[in-house]
């Protein structure tokens, strides 16, 4: 509760500052260049973003890392995007319509868009991009577009996706990299796809153009002067001339760079630094619950301890999620019990199955199984003291219910390997970065034999409900099916132990007016301007 109040307070302060700036009297700056009475934010200026690692792939087709998307969102436009509440909004596609049988979705496209290299964006561009994502060997996007059968160019401003079967999360899949449009000319001009992914210069239609990328040093994004977007007051976007992105892996150093003013923007601040970020006068800090979840993954395959569902439930009952959030995560994020996050349309704020810690109930469940006390191995990645502390906190909480978790520290690479092979012993500690459609947070993790179903979970009723919600475009029906399924895979026959949701953060120097925080944590630089 306290956390929400604080977040709300932060956001309110934020709104006040934004309002003040829009009113032509920015705090700490002068509005001399703006004509009297104009609500126009200042054009020009350059900012530095401190990113937690270097971008690996500029090509959306290959990209596998979260850091990549921070740059992708500036240089590429997708067919659709989300607003800051998580609602899907038109982007390159102005509107879309699902056929009555659900097996086709037709998108109307903007006709005033050109790529950075001067080529025109139209339905043919969409067809080429989507087919490239679907058909290239080793494409990381193939899975997200698996429901698509063929594409039909209806006219230059209209494209139809023909689906193999009705698939309601399709539009949501096009928000991110699977819906990003790359210039065919820029791609084909590169010596090889291996080169393109490292040097995708002027290859998108987005508000900024990638003009320089020096590995482990910096990336330069320059303003796209002919971007199509405007803000709600009709001002042409973007305001900034240049963004320099610097990869800084150490969170301490990243934060210091924000404090010294050497960097202006960061979206990953360590929990321990948040009080300083909030207190420091030169920094604005805001956060909101994100789409990511934190979870413990039991190996539910036959032959492993947690094939017994009551054991999974007992662990879930014995964990004090509120304490974990406060002491383990420095209040960053929110308490949660399943995969449906607050920004999802299917989220149920009243779903709190393990709100009260029930050590006695857990003891009883273990006793009912009748195999003596519950003792298991808990695999924790080595090398990260914060994760270890959280694991130890969980260990201590379980101890109160006479459950013994033996922490085994293994290299992250080793844990991944064991998890992929489904041969890990007992319990691992792995989260998920979150997807805007609840299906992306759920289906592949819970449905029998799907790629991220690392607990080897299988429940026929859950599978049926998850298929149902994919097949209907009716949001109310989807919500019901997803919530029903969640009750089963969290409580009745638990697939995992969920601990809560992460938070999207944004720390900015007061030298810039910050855009709102988005649940996907990615900074909307096209809405940012210099404060003075």
């Amino acid at each position: 509760m306290g956390r929400y109040a604080r977040t709300l307070a932060t956001l309110t302060i934020f709104a006040v500052i934004l309002g003040a700036c829009a009113g032509g009297a920015p705090t700490g700056g002068s509005a001399t260049q703006a004509p009297a009475g104009a609500a126009k934010p200042a054009y020009g200026g350059s900012v530095v973003m401190a990113l937690e690692n270097d971008v690996i792939d500029f090509d959306p087709l290959r990209s596998r890392a979260f850091v990549d998307r921070n740059v992708h969102y500036q240089i590429y436009d997708s067919l659709v995007r989300i607003d800051d509440s998580g609602k899907i909004i038109p982007w390159l596609a102005t509107k879309w319509e699902t056929a009555t049988d659900g097996k086709a979705v037709t998108f109307s496209l903007r006709s005033d868009v050109t790529f950075h290299d001067g080529t025109k964006f139209d339905a043919e561009s969409v067809k080429w991009n989507i087919e490239r994502y679907m058909k290239t060997t080793g494409s990381s996007r193939a899975g997200e577009l698996a429901s698509v059968d063929t594409l039909t160019v209806v006219d230059p401003a209209t494209i139809r996706f023909n689906l193999k079967a009705p698939f309601s999360p399709l539009v949501a899949a096009l928000i991110d990299r699977a819906g990003m449009m790359v210039s065919r000319k820029a791609f084909e001009a590169a010596a090889s796809p291996d080169d393109f992914t490292r040097k995708a210069f002027k290859a998108g239609t987005g508000p900024f153009m990638l003009t320089e990328a020096v590995k482990d040093s910096h990336m330069t994004l320059e303003k796209n002067p002919s971007w199509w977007g405007t803000d709600k007051d009709g001002n042409k976007l973007p305001f900034l001339d240049k963004i320099t992105v610097k990869p800084i892996t150490s969170s301490d150093v990243r934060f210091t760079n924000i404090r010294t003013g050497d960097a202006h923007v960061a979206n990953n601040i360590a929990g321990k630094d948040i009080p300083t970020a909030k207190a420091e006068s030169g920094i604005s800090y805001a956060e909101k619950p994100a789409l990511s979840f934190r979870s413990l993954i039991p190996n539910r395959a036959p032959g492993f301890i947690f094939s017994e569902k009551n054991y999974v439930k007992a662990v879930s009952m014995a964990i004090d999620r509120k304490e974990l959030l406060e002491r383990g995560y420095f209040n960053l994020g929110a308490v949660g019990y399943g995969t449906l996050a607050p920004a999802h349309f299917a989220y149920d704020a009243n779903f709190k199955p393990y709100e009260k810690v029930d050590a006695e109930g857990a003891k009883k469940l273990v006793a009912d199984v009748g195999r003596g006390p519950l003792t298991f191995d808990f695999l924790v990645p080595s090398g990260d003291p914060v994760t270890l502390q959280i694991a130890q906190l969980i260990q201590a909480q379980l101890k109160k219910a006479d459950i013994t978790a033996n922490i085994q520290q293994l290299e992250f690479a080793k844990i991944l390997e064991l998890q992929s092979a489904k041969s890990f012993k007992d319990l691992t500690f792995v989260g998920w970065s979150g997807r805007i459609d609840p299906d992306g947070n759920t289906y592949d993790h819970i449905y029998s034999k799907r790629p991220f179903n690392d607990s080897s979970y299988s429940n026929a009723e859950v599978d049926k409900l998850l298929d149902e919600q994919r097949a209907t475009a009716d949001e109310a029906k989807r919500r019901d099916a997803l919530r029903k399924a969640e009750q089963i895979y969290v409580v009745d026959d638990p697939a995992r132990v969920w601990l809560g949701f992460g938070a999207a953060q944004l720390a900015t120097s007061k030298k810039v007016t910050a855009p709102p925080v988005y649940p996907d944590q990615i900074v909307r630089f096209h809405l940012m301007s210099m404060a003075k």
């Binding site: 080793g138 990381s140 590995k215 050497d262 390997e417 790629p451 991220f452």
Partner: protein
């Protein structure tokens, strides 16, 4: 001398060869599948299998090694599994930054060690000697990652003289390059400075106690020229040995220091590629380090001859 250097250079080849085999096997024995690691949240078995074939990771280890070696002999160290950048390009792109940082640190460490070490040997047990000894002890005990953060907090946040990390190429803006260089160079120099300083001090003390120095002193030679001309050069042999070994330590320290100051050298590349099992990059990096280290020891050996004419390589046969 020329023959000696040539022989040493030829000897490097089998050593480098052995190093590549050891690294090749070790990195593959360590658990974790690079493709699974890089797949992150895009773990699709079918895609991974395609990539495994494309990158040749499905072949047997000897097969992979022979293929790597054949290419390496033609100057092609392969491509990074993670970024698909040619390994040689990745190393060459970053090596100048590491080299600059390493040289700056070595220069700082050696200069200060020689000056302060000499002074504390000549004025032993003076306040200066005590302070120098105390500071060196602290220097050896402070790990890089801690010292780096402290320097950033003091000189970038409290007193804002130097930037908290980053890099500008020397040729683009020399002044800015140097500003960025100061803190990481001090961080990296500290530990090796301590070792070098103690070595200079004890070795000079040793020489100063020898009979020829007493003779020189008895003959009325001035203290100053006695120390600088007679004692100093003779004290340098063990010092040069230790400094040569320090190059290895500096390469190693650079890995951590580069991370803290996001200095875009090969250190960060090494950390990323070892953690991610990026086989070709690790192999290239270790090969480069091994060669750098061998070249340094060769330079040290040649320096012996310069410092002490009695050490001659040309005449000996073995």
């Amino acid at each position: 001398m020329g023959r000696y250097i040539l022989r040493r250079l030829v000897l490097m080849v089998p050593v480098a060869f052995l190093v590549t085999i050891i690294v090749f096997v070790l990195i593959r024995l360590s658990p974790g599948d690079p493709l699974v690691i890089y797949a992150g949240e895009e773990r699709d078995e079918a895609v991974l299998a395609q990539l495994r074939t494309e990158y040749g990771l499905d072949r047997s280890m000897p097969e992979q090694y022979v293929s790597w070696l054949t290419h390496a002999l033609q100057g092609d160290l392969g491509r990074s599994l993670r970024t698909r950048q040619p390994v040689l390009e990745a190393l060459l792109e970053r090596f100048p930054a590491t080299l600059q940082l390493g040289f700056a640190a070595l220069f700082l460490s050696v200069t200060i060690a020689l000056i302060v070490g000499t002074l504390s040997a000549v004025y032993r047990n003076s306040p200066l000697d005590l302070i120098a000894t105390g500071v060196t002890l602290a220097g050896v005990s402070l790990p890089n990652f801690f010292l780096g953060l402290v320097l950033i907090l003091v000189f970038s946040l409290a007193v804002r003289i130097f930037p908290p990390g980053g890099y500008t190429p020397l040729l683009t803006d020399p002044a800015d390059n140097l500003r960025h260089l100061v803190l990481p160079a001090i961080t990296l120099a500290t530990a090796s400075l301590a070792v070098n300083l103690r070595q200079v001090r004890s070795s000079l003390l040793d020489v100063l106690g020898q009979e020829y120095i007493r003779t020189a002193r008895a003959k009325g030679l001035r203290e100053r020229s006695m120390v600088l001309r007679h004692a100093f050069k003779n004290a340098l042999i063990p010092v040069v040995t230790v400094m040569g070994l320090q190059v290895g330590a500096i390469l190693e320290g650079a890995i951590i220091t580069e991370q803290i100051f996001f200095w875009p050298g090969i250190g960060k590349l090494a950390v990323d590629s070892i953690g991610g099992r990026d086989y070709p990059v690790v192999q290239g990096f270790v090969l480069l380090s091994a060669v750098s280290f061998m070249v340094t020891t060769l330079i040290v050996d040649v320096l012996y001859g310069v410092l002490d004419p009695r050490i001659s390589y040309g005449s000996r046969r073995s």
